[in-house]
């Protein structure tokens, strides 16, 4: 009963939720979507059937499924929530603190931003340890070193914490407000997208720094692909894709992906192919061979999926063959992408 979108792209399912979606996550056979008013739905990736639901008062900001899809974390403007697949058990913490991000270290441990701190919880919600307060509300989190070290972005620095001490084990300072954090899967690079319309980069080995400035707007979305060689960012009408292979991007120019006026979502397809999906305020979803061509090349999308006007709220890949898109008007759609090598 799948509908044909293009010669080989299919719509696997199409549903609508009664909220404005803000964030999506997909792992294994599950998809979760959370909205601005706190509606959270857990869906079966293959069919879109509802597998679970919860509500986070104050509205959601981020949702993350654990790598095995056994647990879900949702963070929001007034607290956070956890959902367990096994028995549908839900824990909602209305802490009153702004929880901008959540990140799973493994199947059992999740870090949740909570005001100026990050909390590390077990999957039942019991606190294992917490960081000391940062200089501002925490904006993003990422795990390093196989889940032993937690990188925390806030105003003025990215601070790395480990369980044994309240103080950061490493501090990467920068005068400015970090909005988004990306750590290369290789562990070699820490990157922040900043309010001052720049990307700041640290090489973890020696802390040496690099700033990519000159973006027209703040950089609030950053993502490394699975290889760790490519970083995609917003901050301009074009998605910029930087080459982090070898010595890194110093002195190089990015590839520029031109499709949207304002970028509202971007996500790499799992795997090494360099395929990227991006979404725009105008509702279009674009698929890219983002690493093709040479530096400074302006690329055109391989495909454009029409979104009928409402802004794209979030994108997520449920494995390499299924792209999930959520629009501001509540529509969630799953596209089947059959070919492994093409889009």
């Amino acid at each position: 009963m799948s509908l044909t979108v293009d010669s080989d792209l299919t719509v696997a399912w199409d549903i609508t939720i009664d909220d404005a979606p803000v964030t999506l996550t997909a792992r294994d056979d599950l998809v979760a979507v959370a909205g601005a008013e706190g509606t959270v739905k857990v869906l079966d990736a293959a069919m879109g059937a509802e597998m679970g639901a919860l509500d986070l008062p104050g509205g959601a900001l981020r949702t993350e499924l654990a790598p095995d899809a056994g647990n879900l974390a949702v963070s929001g403007a007034m607290g956070y929530a956890l959902w367990r697949r096994k028995d549908g058990h839900t824990t909602v913490r209305e802490s009153g603190a702004w929880s901008a991000a959540a990140a799973w270290a493994d199947h059992e441990r999740v870090a949740v931003a909570s005001g100026r701190r990050a909390l590390v919880l077990d999957s039942g919600g019991t606190e294992l340890w917490r960081t000391e307060p940062a200089a501002s509300t925490v904006t993003d989190l990422a795990w390093m070193r196989q889940g032993r070290r937690l990188a925390v972005a806030a105003y003025g620095a990215v601070r790395c914490h480990e369980r044994h001490t309240h103080k950061p084990v490493a501090t990467y300072p920068y005068v400015g407000s970090h909005l988004a954090l990306a750590v290369a899967p290789t562990g070699k690079w820490i990157c922040s997208g900043n309010q001052d319309a720049s990307i700041h980069i640290w090489r973890t080995r020696d802390g040496s720094e690099l700033t990519m400035s000159g973006y027209p707007e703040k950089v609030s979305r950053l993502a490394f692909d699975d290889t760790g060689f490519w970083l995609a960012a917003d901050g301009a009408p074009d998605v910029t894709v930087w080459d982090f292979s070898g010595k890194g991007p110093a002195g190089t120019a990015p590839r520029q992906l031109r499709c949207h006026e304002t970028i509202t979502a971007l996500t790499w397809r799992p795997g090494p192919a360099g395929h990227l999906a991006s979404g725009g305020h105008d509702g279009t979803v674009a698929l890219w061979c983002a690493t093709a061509g040479r530096p400074r090349t302006r690329l055109s999308p391989v495909r454009e999926l029409d979104g009928h006007g409402s802004a794209v709220a979030a994108l997520s890949w449920a494995g390499p063959h299924l792209l999930i898109a959520a629009w501001r008007d509540g529509r969630i759609r799953a596209y089947g992408v059959p070919s492994r090598t093409a889009l």
Binding site: A20, E37, G59, A100, S136, Y155, Y174, G176
Partner: protein, 337 residues
């Protein structure tokens, strides 16, 4: 920058400042409870005594961020950026947003947030900064001597205001009210002062007033520029300039750019309506410290004399230097010399 026009669909935002005890909470309660038909979201920085069922009230803790762009006074409010961002993602629509700052808050980072963040600027417009003033206690706050390098917040909040609600006028005599008004005008000559008791002020005069719409300000009070007689021994003052003629755009840009770069720390607010040589429309600008937005407004009418009106509100302003610099931008200035 987005060009505001008749169909500006951005949600207006009012910033409410004023010392503790000036009546902000009373005014806020009125805004939330009175039947004005508007859907209002409130962001509070002061610990909430306000709790109304059908209004959305959000708490925020002030977070001031430097912008790392070489502009030392470019600070923004990180808390407002994230809260306003989340608010605009909701499906329900608001007609208006009201931000209540703490009694000691600096209004500059709040205003600058609306200039510096594109996501906010595209969806929201700063409608007005409303400062509540306690008629009975403000003189004492204005006269308070601060240590070197520390701002007098009362002076600053008045300097930034588009409207002053002069509250608690029932607690003082007419003479004191007049003196307070004189002191307010000495700092901020063009500001509109609304007298009030128990914060009873016509909400239409504080909400969605378009005070950042300059044309309206000058239309309402075209005489402000000449009201500069009563000088007090205050370092924060207004300098108004009113000159006929047309301006050379390049010279104006160079002068204004240099002025804000070098004196922007001391210039709290700047506003103006200018006649640019060769442009059929009025050029309207608004600035907060070093940040400035300008756009062409309505067309000059045929019979209307080409005239330039602008005002600077700030610390240690040199009237002669400002006038000289500005008249040097007139298209005829070179020829006359």
């Amino acid at each position: 920058m987005t060009t505001p026009d008749a169909r500006d669909e951005r949600v207006p935002v009012t910033v409410l400042t004023g010392f503790l005890g000036s009546g902000k909470t009373t005014l806020l309660n009125r805004v939330l409870t009175e039947n004005h038909g508007m859907r209002i979201a409130v962001i509070e920085n002061e610990f909430g005594e306000v709790g109304i069922d059908d209004a959305l009230v959000l708490d925020a803790e002030e977070e001031i961020f430097e912008m790392n762009n070489g502009c030392i006074c470019c600070t923004v409010r990180g808390d407002l950026i994230r809260i306003l961002g989340a608010l605009m993602r909701r499906r329900e629509q608001f007609d208006h947003i009201l931000i209540e700052t703490t009694g000691l808050a600096d209004p500059a980072p709040v205003a600058q947030t609306f200039f510096m963040d594109d996501e906010i600027a595209s969806q929201l417009r700063l409608d007005a900064i409303i400062t509540l003033v306690d008629a009975a206690h403000v003189l004492q706050h204005l006269d308070e001597v601060k240590p070197e390098g520390v701002e007098n917040e009362a002076v600053e909040q008045i300097a930034f205001a588009d409207r002053v609600v002069l509250n608690k006028t029932d607690l003082v005599d007419e003479e004191t009210v007049a003196e307070v008004e004189t002191r307010i005008r000495a700092i901020n000559a063009p500001v509109q002062i609304l007298r009030a008791q128990h914060a009873q002020v016509d909400l239409r005069k504080v909400l969605d007033v378009g005070a950042f719409d300059l044309d309206r300000v000058l239309r309402e009070d075209p005489s402000f520029l000449t009201e500069t007689e009563h000088q007090h021994d205050t370092t924060v003052t207004s300098v108004g300039i009113d000159v006929d003629g047309e301006l050379d755009e390049d010279r104006l840009n160079a002068w204004l750019g240099n002025l804000l770069r070098t004196k922007g720390v001391d210039i709290f607010r700047s506003k103006g309506i200018l006649a640019i040589a060769g442009a059929p429309e009025q050029y309207v600008f608004q600035g907060v410290h070093m940040l400035l937005v300008g756009e062409f407004g309505r067309a000059w009418r045929e019979s209307e004399p080409r005239r330039n009106r602008l005002v600077f509100i700030g610390r240690n302003l040199d009237r002669d230097e400002l006038e000289r610099g500005f008249t040097g931008c007139l298209a005829t200035a070179g020829a006359a010399a």
